[in-house]
């Protein structure tokens, strides 16, 4: 069974490019219906199932995602 | 003990660069300055002081290598001749904009275009008025002997670091190619840079340093320009150098710079022998220009003849300096032709005394 993980997204820095969403094998990410101060529909975690694989973070061009995973 | 040698201007300048503790030279061959890099390559400064010498693939690359080394706070220089200096202008503008210290040597030859390889002073405007794009100035030193070619290298590095600005030594084919007796100063140590503006590697706990001439906001760029202008006013106040000969009782004034001043001095001696009271004012710094001294002498003399190996460039600064107080005329030979003292004396008699 995969370990459990979680992500923290710095929504003010997110530009809503969605590259993380397509990189996530667990489909836990989506775009928010709200916009941030810059007017971007930022990425949010919408589903459980994150394994802390960090794929989202390593493809994020703006380094807005921090990843945690249970030890 | 002072060390006397008979050396070519270009070679002496190269030796002076090693002795001034320069860290790096980047250049590209072009007549009549190639002896600078040839001398450096032959004299192994890497072994003597650790100074780096590199033949770049172009003048453009050479000046940008200077930028890189200067950005590290190192003492870097390059040399070229007129067409090569035109190529370097882009880099010089960036260096001026990024406020980096470096030394540039232009052994001027005739132009425009490929021109000729013979001596000329036709790059005065380019050197003194900026040369590249944007509002900036270079300190410009004009040696008129091999000895000054040596001494000005040391001075140029001092001024470059004092003001964080590029300093040009404007030599020419005569000064570069001639041999004279020269006294060399003793080897100075190379210094490990520790300037807050230089990229020497980030210091722990401090923000990193960057060297740039880019400002995205006009307001910020104007601040940079104001700072540069303030620096130029300081330079104008502190660094003017000139040499005067027989100006005290002069009725007429000759003025010339660099090698041309040597020839003009001969004309002055000939005029004095004929009983004409002529003086010679030789600007040693072309920027900052000895404006006040010209203005002062303009109240005393009946006219000024500006002798140049160009079609009339420094004469404009002389006219601005005297501001109409006295007559100012130009006599020039150009395209690599060198005026002779008889011609100069004749021009003085025709254009100033009789004119």
């Amino acid at each position: 069974m995969a370990k459990r993980g979680d992500v923290v997204i710095d929504i003010e820095k997110c530009k809503g490019c969605e590259v993380c969403i397509s990189a996530c094998p667990q489909n836990v990410l989506a775009v928010a219906s709200e916009v941030n101060n810059k007017g971007y529909h930022y990425a949010v975690k919408v589903n459980e199932g994150c394994t802390g694989c960090a794929n989202c973070a390593i493809v994020c061009p703006d380094a807005v995602i921090t990843v945690y995973r249970e030890k | 003990m002072k060390e006397l040698r008979l050396m070519k201007g270009n070679e002496a300048l190269a030796e002076a660069a090693i002795r001034a503790g320069a860290d790096a030279y980047f250049g590209y061959p072009i007549t009549p300055q190639s002896e600078v890099i040839e001398y450096l390559m032959a004299n192994k400064p890497e072994e003597r002081t650790g100074m780096v010498v590199l033949q770049a693939e172009s003048e453009v690359a050479a000046i940008n290598m200077v930028y890189g080394a200067a950005g590290c706070g190192k003492k870097a220089l390059t040399s070229s001749s007129s067409p090569g200096m035109s190529l370097k202008q882009e880099g010089i503008s960036y260096i001026a904009g990024a406020e980096l210290p470096c030394v540039l040597v232009n052994v001027v030859r005739g132009g425009p275009g490929l021109g000729t390889i013979q001596p000329s002073q036709s790059d005065y405007f380019q050197s003194v008025k900026g040369g590249g794009h944007g509002d900036y100035k270079l300190i410009v030193l004009a040696p008129s002997s091999v000895q000054e070619s040596v001494d000005y290298v040391k001075l140029a590095f001092e001024l470059a670091f004092k003001y964080r600005t590029p300093v040009m030594i404007q030599s020419d084919g005569i000064i570069g190619q001639m041999m004279e007796k020269v006294e060399l100063f003793e080897q100075m140590p190379r210094v490990e840079p520790d300037y807050e503006w230089a990229t020497i590697g980030r210091k722990e706990g401090k923000p990193s340093t960057f060297v740039t001439s880019l400002q995205l906001q006009a307001e910020e760029q104007e601040k940079v320009n104001l700072r540069l202008q303030a620096k130029y006013r300081e330079i104008e106040k502190n660094e003017v150098l000139f040499e005067s000969h027989y100006c005290e009782d002069a009725d007429y004034l000759l003025t010339a710079f660099g090698s041309c001043a040597r020839i003009t001095r001969k004309a002055m001696e000939m005029a004095r022998a004929k009983g004409i009271k002529v003086g010679l004012l030789r600007p040693q710094t072309l920027y900052p220009f000895p404006t006040e001294e010209f203005n002062r002498l303009a109240g005393q003399v009946k006219g000024i003849l500006c002798v140049e190996m160009n079609a009339g460039q420094m004469v404009e600064d002389v006219r601005l300096s005297v501001n109409g107080k006295t007559k100012v005329e130009h006599f020039g030979r150009f395209g690599g032709m060198i005026p002779n003292p008889d011609e100069i004396l004749n021009a003085l008699e025709q254009k100033i005394i009789g004119g």
């Binding site: - | 453009v60 990024a98 020497i200 740039t212």
Partner: protein, 255 residues
């Protein structure tokens, strides 16, 4: 349930401190940010933040020095390899890199690029190839693909009059001064991992003083390609990769 996972001891990934906290000015989805981050992570992991000096180009990444928390110099267009040469020659013990786009490296700076590498300058060149001039608004680059539209080739690049796209990386690999030459991408997790490995290798090789390391990153330009970031990455795979195939082009013999 996941709340309790967010604890320092569970941290597996966060932005490196070798990147500053400034918001990148790049467009959404632009590969520049990822490429910056990989380079910064390598510098971080190698512990060479205070021994690294970078050179920024002219192009979209002209402000790279705002984002790297290492000392940097901003070079004139195309001149980064010459500037880096000046730095490396006076500081041979420092780690020096240039970061250049295709216009900077493969058009105006071709001479500086080829000669610095031919001299085997011990620097890392990171080359971002997105086949277009980004900063000035999508003009044709030396690497623009045949038939590809840009604002200066609005009907597609016609090789008869505009020349063929330049595979400068293959060209550079021919030079004896080039020690390690590779082409990577950063659009997918697997590519990111490979690209980072390549950059790390290159930085480690710099210690050996064996020559220039050259890492090309085939990149997207969603804004000027007029696509969404995700579409642009797909277009890149379908169109750029066949002409600019990923993988090592020149590797040191002993490895």
């Amino acid at each position: 349930m996941s709340e309790n996972l967010i604890k320092p001891e569970n941290l597996v990934y966060k932005k490196t401190d070798v990147m500053t906290d400034r918001i990148l000015h790049y467009c959404p989805g632009c590969a520049h940010g990822t490429a910056h981050r990989l380079l910064a992570e390598v510098i971080d992991e190698m512990g060479i933040q205070n021994e690294t000096i970078g050179v920024a180009p002219v192009g979209c990444s002209v402000l790279a020095y705002y984002y790297f928390n290492v000392d940097m110099q901003e070079a004139a267009h195309g001149r980064a390899p010459a500037v880096a040469t000046g730095i490396k020659r006076v500081f041979p013990e420092k780690f020096v890199f240039t970061y250049q786009g295709d216009g900077d490296l493969a058009a105006i700076g071709t001479a500086e690029t080829i000669h610095a590498i031919n001299r085997g300058e011990n620097i890392l060149v990171v080359f971002i190839n997105n086949g277009i001039y980004g900063m000035t608004g999508g003009q044709m680059a030396p690497t623009t693909l045949q038939g590809m539209k840009s604002s200066t080739s609005p009907f597609g690049r016609d090789v008869k009059t505009m020349g063929s796209p330049l595979k400068i990386t293959e060209l550079i690999a021919q030079l004896p001064g080039a020690y390690f030459v590779t082409r990577q991408a950063v659009h997918k997790p697997a590519n990111v991992r490979k690209a980072k490995k390549a950059i790390k290798k290159a930085m480690e090789y710099q210690k050996l003083n064996k020559g220039t390391c050259f890492v090309e990153i085939v990149a997207n330009c969603p804004s000027n390609w007029k696509m969404t970031p995700v579409q642009s990455n797909q277009w890149m795979e379908e169109n750029m990769f066949p002409f600019y195939p990923l993988g090592d082009i020149k590797v040191p013999e002993e490895n």
